[in-house]
């Protein structure tokens, strides 16, 4: 009885918080599985009485969700690959080599993380227009590098700093060049850090909305958040389609989060995944 009084209320709170966290996700999933008649009702049930997949097949065939999914994957993957390569090189230099003004550079890189994107977007739009990159994958990828690269440099530098420098020295005394040591010794050990950084860059690009909204002006090149926003913005919203698209859009990120749970926190203090 005393246990109930001392710990019981904590369980109640934990349950309430879990419900607050999970309920919206649960409700989206069940809505996406409901038939139309069960969605547009004033007495919604908390479970689908007649679960069916047709919302998903519908958004893939009627809507442009399939194409948008492919666009999102292409853009996020390309951003991630370039970002990890470029940022990895810079992170290594900033972690290991003598670089003049290193502190200033690092502080600058960290500060760029804090900029509101809206302060960069007008000139970026002009740059893309003049380079004829509006409505292209390349244009969006280049724009995404603006905010993924600084973040990735900061995180990867942190990972490289945790690798003992003696390992490289040993490799270099054994005859490896600095570049050789970088690729053969550091890269394999930094693997987990690289994967974490790649994941964070991918999610950042996957979630981005404002730049995509500005640059991707043709239907064929729209990414998932744009299509989703179009669905929601319509006067007579097709909630079944919105919910199915939301699930499709969210599932990859949730999978990443579950797989990378431990490592995500390490990178987060540098300021990451958030719109």
């Amino acid at each position: 009885m005393r246990w109930m009084l001392r710990r019981g209320w904590m369980y109640v709170c934990a349950l309430a918080v879990s419900a607050f966290a999970l309920f919206p996700i649960y409700y989206v999933v069940i809505t996406s599985l409901k038939p139309r008649s069960e969605i547009y009702t004033r007495t919604p049930d908390l479970w689908p009485n007649d679960p069916q997949w047709h919302q998903y097949t519908r958004v893939f065939t009627e809507g442009h969700v399939g194409r948008a999914l492919a666009n999102s994957l292409i853009v996020a993957t390309a951003t991630t690959l370039i970002c990890v390569l470029v940022a990895g090189m810079a992170a290594y230099a900033l972690a290991r080599l003598e670089v003049p003004l290193k502190r200033t550079l690092l502080m600058l890189i960290l500060t760029t993380q804090m900029f509101p994107l809206v302060v960069l977007i007008i000139p970026l739009f002009v740059l893309m227009r003049n380079a004829n990159l509006i409505g292209t994958y390349q244009g969006l990828v280049v724009a995404y590098l603006a905010f993924t690269v600084p973040l990735a440099i900061w995180i990867m530098r942190g990972f490289i700093l945790t690798i003992p420098e003696e390992l490289e020295h040993a490799a270099m005394t054994d005859g490896a060049t600095r570049v050789g040591a970088m690729f053969r010794v550091i890269l394999p050990i930094a693997g987990p850090g690289l994967i974490a950084t790649a994941t964070l860059s991918f999610i950042a690009a996957w979630n981005e909305f404002m730049l995509a909204l500005t640059f991707m002006d043709t239907e064929e090149k729209k990414t998932l958040p744009l299509v989703l926003q179009q669905f929601v913005g319509r006067g007579d919203t097709d909630w079944g389609a919105v919910m199915a698209t939301s699930v499709i859009y969210t599932v990859p990120v949730i999978l990443f989060f579950l797989l990378m749970r431990k490592r995500l926190m390490l990178g987060m203090t540098a300021g990451a995944v958030k719109g």
């Binding site: 994107l117 739009f125 600084p150 996957w206 958030k274």
Partner: protein
Amino acid sequence: MSTTSGQAVAAGRLRAPRPSAAERVMRAASKLTLPVILLLPAMTIIVGLVGYPLVKTIWLSFTDTRLGDLINGTSTWIGLENYKEVFTDEQLRTSLVNTVVFGSACVIGTMVLGMCVALLLNQRLRFNWFFSLAVLLPWAVPAIAASSIFKWLFDDRYGFVNWALVGLGFDHFKDYAWFADRNSAYVAMFVVVVWQSFPFIALSLLAGLQTVPKDTLDAAAVDGANAMQRFRLVTLPLLRPILAVLVIFSTIWDFKIFDQVYVLAPGVPDRAADTAAVTSYREAFALGHFGTGAAIAVVLFLVLLVFSIAYVRLIGKEART
């Protein structure tokens, strides 16, 4: 044997002629080659895609620029006119006030809930794995998806929230249109932002809580401090550095908020619920007032810069130790 050869080497080094100036320059240059090669692509991106646009936006904020001017580069310099407009025009000024008030509310809400959840997680209750997993998930939902989800939950006719509120006896909420009124739209947006942001705060604070030495807490308990006093006198001071970082961090996030407001606020009359980022974007890309849009963006940037500098100083301090 080894000592003599060591001395010989040392002596040889002493006798070697000092390198000429040209040689020293060459040596310094060759030492710089690798860092420059490694840093060049990243620096090009940062200077070209962050530095240059920032300077350009600041310049645009002093000009009258329409779409044609923007493309042909024919903006007219009008000095501080745009800034005057930002601070006198009712709608523009409101967007700045909205940003500060709504942003601060979100920071407070997120921090309070995040702290409570972190303390609960730290109790290591049974089913803790489930609790921490539940708390992690909202963080993974992209902003546009979260906004769509909550727009559905808060739907006037078929939404879950109104159904539940009416079911609880609040008949006032029958067909209540949350997104047609400024205050109720803010309530809904507050819920979305807090829902999305508290997991990160909670998990970061949990990491901080786990570094609080148990001995100190036990000692305080032996000395007769109750749970509340232990939290206030032992835990809180130890958490102060990480709390400071998190507060600055969420302030930056919540002040530059765009996605959620862009999706959820357009139904509010006179766009009275827009925040600075959305207003800046709309002024520029929907209304074609690129100069005014730039000016709002610069004001927001300057506000955030204060927080950024504070953040960088804190992180820099940590990085040094």
